[in-house]
């Protein structure tokens, strides 16, 4: 009796495993599953999320009437006296951050008064970098989102409908391409610079979609001729469904690669504009403006370079990694890479089977 019961349980487990295998999954579910399995992308997404939380929670912020205190003691407006810190050779405002523990011959792990040092007039450099990172992150995402959306939609529509729609949209794109971004940025920065960096990013996004739309259009032109589009039409799909459900997922690789490049490029664009004096207007700062501001002190006070640079690299890299993971997740041909361990296991199993 007991025996048969056990057998029943086993059989039940077996069927549930089989059921799990044949359970219908939608495209979205499969993509999500594959994305979560991509280690690099998951690490990057966690890393990027913690950078965002860290950066935005650090400084005092005014949101309408409510004031968020922030966990860092200085803001970019504070002007503490210049301190000697750990400086040598007659420098002032060196970073006080110490990461080497005492048992390795260091000063122990401590932040000190100004972990990233101070700038020329004594402003806390940690606060400046945080503020800069906030600005740069915002610019990156706003440009990426607006440029990506407009580029994809314009490219998809002109590639799908072709004919006169295509001609009009592409000539408009040509027109936008001929205007140099730097000039647009300068004009916007000059006239609306006082409205804040968000406004600037929004306008830059309106001009940054051209390359993407060309790529998406080309992809759509080839994909719309494939038979699965006709098959979908026979199945009763509307044009909208064909564009978004059938063609767009097939073009997603090119879109993601292009948008992640656009986002990393946005940081540099903002840097260039700030360098020319049209981007982020002083006393506000961005990572780009920090670097260009202190470009001459590289040999004497390199930390003024290191910290903003470190943040630029981390943000750009993790965005690229996430993009890579998304692209892989959408690509049905991408298989999980066979590792050395898998190979060894296969060999072992084969040997065991041979022994039997």
């Amino acid at each position: 009796m007991i025996f048969s019961k056990k057998k029943n349980v086993e059989a039940l487990e077996e069927t549930s495993i089989i059921n799990k295998e044949i359970e219908g999954l939608s495209q979205g579910q499969i993509v999500r599953r594959r994305f979560f399995r991509h280690k690099g992308a998951m690490i990057s997404i966690i890393f990027l999320a913690s950078i965002i939380v860290f950066v935005y929670s650090s400084l005092k912020m005014k949101i309408f009437s409510f004031t968020y205190p922030g966990w860092w003691k200085y803001t970019i407006e504070d002007l503490p006296p210049l301190e000697l810190g750990a400086c040598k050779d007659g420098l002032v405002g060196c970073p006080t951050l110490s990461l080497r523990p005492e048992f390795l011959g260091g000063n122990g792990i401590s932040l000190g008064e100004h972990p990233f040092g101070q700038d020329d007039i004594g402003r806390d450099y940690f606060a400046l970098v945080m503020r800069g990172a906030q600005r740069s992150l915002m610019v990156t995402f706003v440009i990426g989102f607006i440029g990506g959306t407009i580029g994809t939609v314009v490219g998809a529509i002109s590639g799908f409908y072709r004919g006169i729609v295509d001609s009009v949209l592409m000539r408009f794109t040509d027109f936008i391409i001929t205007i140099p971004t730097i000039i647009i940025g300068s004009v916007i920065g000059f006239h609306f610079g006082n409205l804040g960096v968000g406004f600037l990013a929004f306008y830059l996004g309106l001009f940054a979609w051209t390359g993407l739309s060309r790529l998406v259009r080309g992809e759509f032109l080839t994909l719309r001729e494939r038979e699965f589009v006709d098959a979908a039409r026979v199945a009763g799909a509307t044009n909208r469904r064909i564009i978004f459900k059938h063609i767009l997922p097939n073009a997603v690789g090119i879109i993601i690669v292009s948008v992640t490049l656009l986002m990393s490029g946005a940081i540099l664009l903002e840097t260039a504009l700030s360098y020319l004096g049209f981007g982020v207007v002083s006393p506000d700062v961005s990572l780009g403006s920090l670097i260009s501001q202190y470009q001459e002190s590289f040999t004497t006070r390199p930390w003024l370079f290191w910290y903003p640079g470190l943040f630029i690299i981390s943000i750009a890299l993790s965005i690229n990694f996430i993009g890579d993971g998304l692209r892989d997740a959408f690509d049905p041909r991408q298989r999980r890479r066979i590792t050395k361990k898998d190979r060894e296991r296969a060999v072992r199993l084969k040997r065991e089977a041979a022994q039997k």
């Binding site: 089989i18 295998e21 044949i22 359970e23 219908g24 999954l25 939608s26 495209q27 499969i30 494939r226 038979e227 699965f228 006709d230 098959a231 979908a232 039409r233 026979v234 199945a235 009763g236 799909a237 469904r241 059938h246 997922p249 097939n250 997603v252 959408f330 049905p332 041909r333 066979i338 190979r343 296969a346 060999v347």
Partner: protein
């Protein structure tokens, strides 16, 4: 007897994939004398093309070869790259399957032939040009002086294949390797190319190694046959032996699954309905003018009716407009004149919205299953889409319906989460059918559904289609270039040529006593897997020509 030009002994090819050697060809042994034709036959994946490419070390870098391949007593497997380069083209020339991809599209065919000539012989450009013209004349391309300056896209499929042959013959090779030389061509053109190859072989006394899956072609050409399965030679013998006294069960199966004209039983269909499911009346379809390319009339004054439960085969050569008719009859293409009625509703002037509701009564199976399934969509979703969009079922209801459909086409339910590329060609085509049948249509359009499949897979597929049609009793327009396939399925046959309906009638009437000369020519060109029969036909063809 002369010495063999090619000697292959214990020839093996392995591929390095994911950490193990996978054998693709195992211990091949054969010899080939001048003037002989050896055919290697097998289904896709049996290793026949691998063997052919491996002979001259043309394989990808993850391949390993062993054994011995001697061309005119020179060992090829251990030859240095420069020796190999000299022999390729000079001693051994290749003809590939798809002439459009094997010829370089940005050079004229003359340029490509001259290039081959000047690579191997020390001759001047003028001399090479003269020789190229001579070669083009030899392969019967019309107007050689002009044709030599044409680009591949300016030639028809058959002419392109002729140009490829001219290039291959440029250096009078002793051995010609023809890898599926006629698979991409129409039957009538195929017959011409085979005649040409046979004539040239006799004239130049070269040997031909023919790689093909088409038993009819083999019967037409081969002196000796080698049957391969999964990399192993299962049978080797003369053409007469293989066709008339096959020993190995696989050879028998292969021969058995080749559809033969007039071999299937007569089926009688009583048409009870008065109203046809599909009614095409005087339809003209035109591809509009684009830029400088003038408008092209693809179908002219076409009439056809299909009733419930009936399968109508639509045959014709490529470019005859059969696919255009198929697409127009479910409203995928606009028609210029005439009227198409589907289940009693006029679709020629229907709005988008009306078309949606009419299309629910139709299904279509496309030619290339690789292209007709969305590569990013798991097949379960592809199959369920028509049901979902028609608003008939959702969630778990939909899942059950998809399972039923998968059962119907004999695919395991667990396949629903697979992507199309994880399935074989035959399985993909089953998915195509399941999707087409999802809404239990009144009309199924099958557009060359078997042309991408192997014969044995094709046989199973046709069985399945026939069984489903018997069960669900839909009307079916079966488009194909292969008369033998249409013969198995169709109740009636319609023949098209250059956009016009040439003849339409009962299957037996068309196949046995066709009125039209074109239909008769089409029937005569279908290769039969029987060497004796092929010889008779060939002689008849030659007599007709002279």
């Amino acid at each position: 007897m002369s010495d063999p030009i090619l000697k292959v002994k214990d020839f093996c090819v392995d591929f390095w994939v994911d950490g193990t050697w996978y054998p693709a060809a195992i211990e091949m042994n054969f010899e080939l004398k001048p003037g002989e034709v050896l055919a290697i036959v097998g289904e896709s994946g049996s290793g026949k093309s691998t063997t052919a490419l491996g002979l001259m070390s043309l394989l990808a870098s993850n391949a390993r070869t062993s054994g011995s391949v001697k061309v005119k007593d020179v060992e090829m497997l251990e030859a240095s790259p420069s020796v190999l380069r000299k022999s390729r083209g000079r001693e051994v020339a290749y003809i590939f399957q798809e002439p459009m991809t094997a010829l370089n599209p940005v050079y004229t065919i003359g340029f490509q032939i001259v290039e081959t000539l000047r690579n191997h012989f020390d001759i001047g450009p003028k001399e090479a040009h003269e020789r190229a013209v001579e070669l083009i004349r030899m392969v019967d391309i019309p107007d050689p002086e002009k044709s030599i300056n044409k680009y591949p896209h300016q030639l028809s499929g058959g002419q392109r294949q002729r140009a490829m042959i001219a290039q291959a013959l440029a250096c009078d090779p002793g051995l010609l390797v023809a890898d599926e030389p006629t698979t991409a061509l129409d039957v009538t053109v195929q017959a011409e190319i085979l005649d040409l190859m046979r004539g040239l072989k006799d004239k130049l006394n070269s040997a031909i190694l023919l790689i093909t899956h088409d038993m009819g072609v083999v019967a037409d050409m081969a002196d000796e046959i080698l049957v391969m399965k999964d990399g192993v030679t299962v049978e080797h013998g003369s053409a007469d032996q293989i066709f008339n006294r096959p020993q190995h069960p696989y050879t028998k199966e292969l021969l058995g699954s080749v559809p033969k004209l007039g071999s299937s039983v007569k089926r009688v269909l009583e048409i009870t309905d008065k109203e046809p499911v599909l009614k095409i009346e005087n339809v003209t379809i035109e591809y509009p003018k684009r830029g400088r390319i003038p408008a092209f009339v693809a179908v002219k004054n076409f009439n056809l009716e299909i009733f419930r439960g009936e399968i109508v085969g639509l045959v014709g050569e490529s470019g005859s407009g059969k696919t255009t008719v198929g697409r127009a009859s479910i409203g995928l293409l606009p028609i210029k004149e005439g009227k198409i009625e589907l289940v009693g509703k006029d679709i020629s002037h229907a709005t988008q919205k009306e078309l949606f509701s009419i299309r629910r009564h139709t299904g279509i199976v496309f030619q290339d299953p690789a292209s007709s399934l969305n590569p990013r969509l798991p097949i379960g979703e592809s199959i369920g889409e028509p049901i979902f969009l028609a608003g008939l079922a959702k969630g778990s209801d939909l899942a059950h319906k998809v399972e039923d459909l998968l059962d119907q086409v004999e695919l395991p339910r667990s396949y629903r989460n697979r992507y199309p590329h994880e399935l074989s060609g035959g399985q993909r085509q089953r998915v195509g059918i399941a999707r087409a049948l999802a809404l239990t249509p009144d009309l199924l359009i099958a557009d060359e559904p078997t042309s991408a499949l192997d014969v044995s897979v094709q046989a199973r597929f046709l069985d399945l289609l026939q069984e489903l049609q018997g069960k669900l009793n839909f009307a079916c327009l079966f488009i194909s270039h292969d008369l033998a396939v249409v013969d198995i399925l169709a109740h009636r046959i319609a023949v098209m040529q250059d956009g016009k309906l040439v003849e339409v009638g009962d299957r037996d009437q068309i196949l046995q006593n066709a009125d039209n000369a074109y239909t008769r020519r089409l029937i005569a060109a279908v290769p039969v897997p029987d060497p004796a029969e092929q010889r008779i036909r060939r002689e008849a063809r030659l007599a007709a020509k002279n």
